[in-house]
Structure formats: structure tokens, C-alpha cells
């Protein structure tokens, strides 16, 4: 009697699991339990979600937004963040060094909130080098002339076209291409 009941539950769970991934097969933003594990996108160089945690670290917010927006940690892999934070004295052509204690605190925050969908053994230093970024911003999506707009200046200026980039909101619905 008891084993029969347990068997029933197992069968029900299996059935539910088999249906779930099919239901959202084409949704990149899907966070379903099964699809997250099974679906490898962008060769494993995929950004994570949710992007900007509610418990945002104030040191991170303060220090990382002095020269550019504080990029949401979920855009990169944990290893990428470790590499970025280890090389702040030569940060894309600028010295952005901070003291060791602050560096550790910010690194911890970035690493523990890094992309949860990054499975490739890669760790690019630039967000724009990640496969998900290139795929979503290639010439088939964004005409090259858009990038030449002086208001954009550099693809690092997410917020020009994604006004809520700082919150980790990059939805196409909110996209604003400058004129």
C-alpha cells in the first residue's frame, strides 16, 4: 500500500517533468527547472537572470559607477569577474585600482551573483566579447550605423539604448535607439 502510493508520486513527478521543457522550449528567458539545466545557449556563454540582485552591495554600486554604469553581475561568469577585479590597475586602459579590502568585498558580490547560465570554460574580460552579447547585437539585429551614433560612443554605454540597464533590465520592449 505504502510503496504503491510512493510509486504513484514518482510517476506523477516524472510526467510533469517531461511536459515542462516542451511548454517553453523557445523562450530564452524561461527559468523552468528542467529547461535551465538542459538548454545550452550561446555555446554556454549566456548571461544569467535575475540580473541586479535586490540586496545590491553599496560598495559595488558606489565604486563601479564612477566611470561607467555599475554593470549587473549576471552579465558575466564568475571567473570573468575574478579576472576583471584582479586587473583593476589596468582596467581597459585606465587605472581603476581600489584598496584590497574593497576589492575583496566587491569581488565576492560579483562572483556570488554572476551568471547562473554560463557553462563554457571561458572568461572574457569584456561583456561585449561574450557570445550572448555578440549574438544579440550583431548586424542582423542592430544596423552598423546605429553604433556610429555619437550618443552611443561605445557599446559599453548600455544605458543609452537600455534606459534601465543599471537595474538589469534589457528587455527589447524598453529599447530606445537614439536618433
Amino acid at each position: 500500500m505504502k510503496t504503491g502510493f510512493a510509486k504513484g508520486i514518482v510517476i506523477a513527478l516524472l510526467a510533469a517533468g517531461m511536459v515542462m521543457p516542451v511548454a517553453h522550449a523557445d523562450d530564452d528567458d524561461d527559468e523552468g527547472f528542467f529547461s535551465k539545466r538542459n538548454k545550452i545557449r550561446y555555446g554556454g556563454e549566456n548571461r544569467g537572470k535575475p540580473l541586479q540582485p535586490a540586496n545590491i552591495n553599496p560598495k559595488f554600486q558606489q565604486e563601479c559607477s564612477e566611470c561607467h554604469i555599475a554593470y549587473v553581475p549576471g552579465l558575466m561568469s564568475a571567473e570573468s569577474w575574478r579576472r576583471v577585479m584582479a586587473g583593476l590597475d589596468q582596467h581597459f586602459g585606465s587605472d581603476a585600482s581600489i584598496d584590497a579590502q574593497e576589492n575583496q568585498e566587491i569581488t565576492d558580490y560579483l562572483v556570488s551573483n554572476a551568471s547562473n547560465r554560463w557553462s563554457a570554460p571561458t572568461a572574457p574580460l569584456r561583456i561585449t566579447e561574450a557570445a550572448w552579447f555578440k549574438r544579440m547585437h550583431g548586424s542582423h539585429e542592430i544596423p552598423p550605423r546605429v553604433w556610429k551614433n555619437p550618443k552611443i560612443n561605445s557599446p559599453a554605454n548600455c544605458a543609452v539604448c537600455h534606459p534601465d540597464a543599471v537595474f538589469g533590465e534589457f528587455d527589447e520592449d524598453g529599447l530606445v535607439l537614439p536618433r
Partner: protein
């Protein structure tokens, strides 16, 4: 009595550290510079020339802070807005020694590929204090 001392101790340590002023920051740079042989004080004129010229690299101070330190600047690379550098135009400038040291270190490395001397920092701050 013991409680009184404990309470006093609490208030004394809980007291926020008094913020520096641009003048006290300058004084602290001056005491650092006085240690160098031949130090004869700071010069606003020398500071202005230093601020506006390149030093072997791609950038000068004014590349980001503009030729007018009382105006808003723009990061030469990212384009991010930079609040005015001159204390007369921005009361927050040079009121936090840690921040001053952090940015002198970074920006001198970017502009000169080395850290600045106390003489150079003092000259620049003396110049910035003359900007109205």
C-alpha cells in the same frame, strides 16, 4: 562613574570623522612635500601648466576635466559625466583624503604613467583653488 566614562567613550568614538577641507588637504600635501630637498612652496601657475599639458601619454588632466576645472567634464573613454573639479564649483571636491589619494593615484598613472610627486599634486590643487 564607570558608566559615565563608558558613555563618554561611546560618544567620542561614535563621533563622525570630521571631513577634510581643500585647505587641510593642501596642508597635508604640503607637509609631505616639505620633506623633499629644495621645496619652495606650490605655484598655481605651474599647476595650471601641468593640468593642461600631456605628459608623454594620450591624455592630460583636461582631457576629462576640460580646460575649465569649474565646468562639468566627460570621461574621455566612456563619456560619463564628471562633476566639476574646482572646489569653488563643487563643494564636495577635496574633502575626503582617501578619495583624493585614490584619484590622484589612478589619474596620474593614466596621464603620466607613474604616481605624481607631492610637488605636482600641491601645484595642481593650488591652481584649482584659484579657479572661481
Amino acid at each position: 562613574m564607570l558608566r559615565f566614562f563608558l558613555l563618554m567613550g561611546f560618544f567620542l568614538t561614535a563621533q563622525p570623522v570630521l571631513a577634510e577641507t581643500p585647505e587641510s588637504v593642501l596642508a597635508s600635501i604640503k607637509s609631505e612635500a616639505s620633506g623633499t630637498p629644495g621645496f619652495k612652496g606650490f605655484s598655481a601657475e605651474r599647476g595650471e601648466a601641468f593640468y593642461k599639458s600631456k605628459h608623454g601619454g594620450e591624455w592630460s588632466c583636461s582631457s576629462c576635466h576640460t580646460d575649465n576645472p569649474a565646468a562639468e567634464g566627460k570621461h574621455a573613454k566612456t563619456g560619463k559625466l564628471i562633476q566639476p573639479l574646482a572646489p569653488a564649483a563643487n563643494a564636495e571636491r577635496f574633502t575626503d583624503m582617501k578619495k583624493v589619494n585614490k584619484w590622484f593615484k589612478r589619474n596620474c598613472n593614466d596621464v603620466l604613467d607613474r604616481e605624481c610627486t607631492a610637488q605636482e599634486k600641491g601645484d595642481v590643487l593650488t591652481y584649482l583653488l584659484t579657479v572661481k
